[in-house]
């Protein structure tokens, strides 16, 4: 996976983008309120979170066994399973399947793993035309962008920008057509995509869950595009991370109850689709070929280590929605297809901490992510764990290292610390002009006042009064 993070510069750019900021304001209010409302209406929500966590923990303790059971049941249902160690193997595997079936066009349901392995550019370079069929993914495909949110990939795009890119891409349509309303944009996308579904040689979906006992893949969508991608074309390819497996249908029903509520605040998504193997003799329709491409790409290396719990993630996006930093800068600033708190834990794991060194620090550690996570992943703890690794490997700036060393030395020597504190208490009473010279304060002072210190430390006053 590719991570290009110059988070500080990208964040600055994002803060200065009025269209992005307007989009983020809409998103911030929408998702958080919707989740809170849905949770308030379900008294057993906290119990369900415990059960969801327990299911995911159990799977991760027994991942090999459940994956093998899943594979056996896919094969029993007439499908094939492909094990891929990394992104390159997964891309190659998908291309091979497409070549075997002679597919030239490929209707894709939304898949974050597809983004993770950067499938589209690879297929294009190899003569296959991928068509994103999720509206958000379709929009960003036309804009040549990566998703900025794991469940709402085009959340950064305004409807005016959608109209603009539709006019450019759909040149055969009447230039005078009105495209001001979301409905008109949706109608146009439906019109275009419907033809693509019907003519695509192969289809792909991700998977929200893989069910071991039945060999089933499950997707949740709100547009129905996933269903068309997987049932209309002759070949259905499921692309999923190995951690997506769960033991039983009952387990999936628990996870579904927390997933949609955590993600969009819906009780359940509009479509929840289960697919098991290719078309059977008695089925009216369905694909002739059914393939599951399972991706490791760094996941198994997390098992049993300090980031083990991250594999519980069910990709609901609640941690993004509740993160104040994500809410301020949006997803692209993170330079990874997995943004926000979950991304800042996963990106260093998948792309290396050297490439993603800024991300664990792009957090106030406020804990809103962990509080919203349906499977209670201790995200702040894991961000700190990456900070530890980053510090150990010397990936922090000399300046912050030096500052920290000086401060730590003082903190370990109370007499010295007292002197430093007394000086600080004097300096920090001064007017802004002088405060600006204090290292690290100029950024704060650019937009905020710095409340003045009272002049004498508590410790000095206490000693004088009671010491």
């Amino acid at each position: 996976m590719h991570v290009t993070t110059d988070f500080p510069a990208a964040a600055k750019k994002a803060l200065a983008d009025p269209s992005l900021q307007a989009a983020l304001a809409r998103m911030r209010n929408g998702f958080v309120t919707a989740r809170a409302t849905a949770v308030a209406r379900l008294p057993e929500f906290e119990d369900l979170r415990d059960r969801a966590q327990a299911i995911r923990d159990h799977v991760l303790q027994n991942l090999d066994a459940y994956l093998e059971r899943f594979e056996a049941n896919v094969i029993a249902a007439g499908g094939q399973v492909h094990w891929c160690r990394d992104a390159a193997e997964a891309r190659q595997t998908v291309l091979n399947i497409l070549r075997q079936t002679g597919a030239k066009t490929f209707a894709k349901g939304k898949s974050m793993v597809g983004e993770e392995i950067e499938l589209n550019p690879y297929l294009e370079a190899n003569g296959v035309r991928p068509i994103e069929t999720d509206l958000g993914e379709y929009i960003i495909q036309l804009r040549h962008e990566t998703p900025s949110h794991i469940i709402a990939p085009a959340t950064h795009v305004s409807k005016e920008q959608v109209a603009e890119v539709f006019r450019a891409a759909h040149g055969h349509l009447d230039v005078g057509r009105p495209l001001e309303t979301p409905d008109s944009l949706l109608a146009e996308a439906r019109e275009i995509l419907r033809k693509e579904f019907l003519s695509a040689d192969a289809g792909m979906t991700g998977a929200n869950f893989l069910i071991a006992e039945t060999g089933t893949s499950v997707i949740v969508t709100n547009e129905g595009n996933g269903d068309l991608s997987q049932t209309v074309p002759k070949t259905h390819i499921v692309l999923a991370g190995i951690e997506k497996v769960v033991p039983t249908l009952d387990d999936v029903s628990v996870l579904l109850r927390v997933l949609a509520r955590s993600a969009t605040g819906q009780e359940i998504s509009t479509y929840t689709t289960f697919s098991t193997g290719p078309k059977r003799a008695t089925d009216m329709d369905g694909p002739q070929h059914y393939h599951v491409v399972l991706l490791d790409n760094g996941r198994s290396a997390l098992l049993g280590g300090q980031f083990h719990d991250m594999l519980r993630c069910i990709r609901c996006g609640a941690c993004l929605n509740h993160c104040p930093v994500y809410g301020a800068v949006g997803g692209h600033a993170y330079g990874s297809v997995y943004p926000g708190p979950m991304g800042s834990v996963l990106s260093p794991a998948f792309a290396g901490i050297e490439a993603a060194k800024h991300l664990p620090h792009a957090s106030t550690l406020c804990g809103a992510c962990e509080a919203a996570c349906p499977v209670r992943i201790p995200l702040p703890k894991m961000l700190r764990a990456w900070r530890d690794i980053s510090f150990e490997r010397g990936l922090v700036t000399q300046r912050s290292k030096l500052g920290l060393a000086l401060w730590s030395f003082a903190a370990r020597n109370p007499a010295l610390y007292r002197m430093g504190a007394a000086i600080a208490a004097k300096i920090l009473q001064k007017p802004r002009a002088i405060l600006r010279l204090v290292p690290g304060l100029s950024g704060w002072l650019a937009t905020r006042d710095f409340p003045a210190a009272q002049g004498k430390t508590f410790m000095a006053q206490w000693k004088a009064k009671r010491g």
Partner: protein
């Protein structure tokens, strides 16, 4: 998660060590004295261990575990032997209570010591309400002209220590004061310790959002339990020319709002 390990019944006059916190020490000692006053009113014998400096959170959150551990060991020693340790900050109390045991998770010597200190360390309002059973800690000194106070929960206090009801319970007893939440009460203010130094522009955008939230709730005071968050909010409010006056909850409970608020010329 309020006090998972059931607290002991406190002695009538427990010996309480005040963890002053580095920000209160340097920036606003008045909060420390307010905390001492409140603890003494509640019947505690308050001491201020001289060897204390800082809880080590900046090192801990910066990935410098070795220094965080060294500082934590000093803290454990400085605060040994007291019935309780109390800090006028959810962030520093959270560091000791929630993170010290984690720092020494696999250490057979310091692990139990960290756990022992963690179990008797509290944030001020949490200690007064949950341990000392206070409902009304206000005396005639607390002069508050009729006011509406908006409360901002600090993230560490709220999510690491479960502090929500305690400050509101105590503030309810202040005559003339009505306490309200606002839509941003539980959302980060953007301070984040070293975060506001490292990413001042992102931090500023987050506090700007809190100001927009605050503008929708009428009130004349903004109160909270963590000086870092309050300095951030007060600094932004004063730059924007807002009349909202910002105080630490301990200041209001101990002495009212006649004095200079955070960021006001004293």
């Amino acid at each position: 998660m309020t006090n998972a390990d059931a607290p002991r019944t406190p002695p009538d006059h427990p010996r309480v060590a005040l963890l002053v916190t580095c920000l209160v020490d340097v920036m606003r000692p008045q909060i420390g004295f307010a905390a001492v006053q409140l603890l003494e009113r509640a019947g505690c014998i308050v001491e201020v261990p001289e060897a204390q400096t800082c809880c080590g959170q900046p090192a801990y959150n910066s990935g410098d575990r070795a220094d965080a551990q060294k500082i934590a060991k000093d803290v454990i020693e400085a605060f040994a032997g007291f019935d309780y340790v109390v800090a006028p900050s959810g962030s520093c109390a959270g560091m000791v209570r929630a993170h010290f045991p984690e720092l020494f998770a696999n250490d057979p010597v310091w692990g139990p010591k960290a756990a022992e200190l963690s179990a008797r360390t509290y944030e001020l309002t949490q200690f007064l309400v949950d341990i000392m059973g206070c409902k009304n800690i206000v005396t005639a000194d607390a002069s508050v002209k009729t006011a509406i106070a908006i409360y901002h929960d600090s993230c560490s206090g709220l999510r690491e220590l479960g502090i929500k009801a305690q400050p509101r319970t105590l503030l309810k007893a202040v005559p003339g004061l009505a306490v309200r939440d606002y839509s941003g009460s539980e959302t980060c203010c953007g301070f984040g310790g070293t975060f506001c130094i490292k990413y001042p522009d992102v931090s500023d955008r987050i506090v700007t959002q809190r100001l927009a939230d605050l503008a929708r709730t009428p009130g004349n005071l903004l109160l909270g339990g963590d000086l870092g968050c309050l300095m951030n909010l007060a600094g932004k409010l004063s730059r924007e020319g807002s009349p909202l006056r910002v105080f630490h909850v301990a200041e209001v409970l101990a002495g009212g709002t006649d004095g200079a608020s955070i960021g006001e010329e004293g």
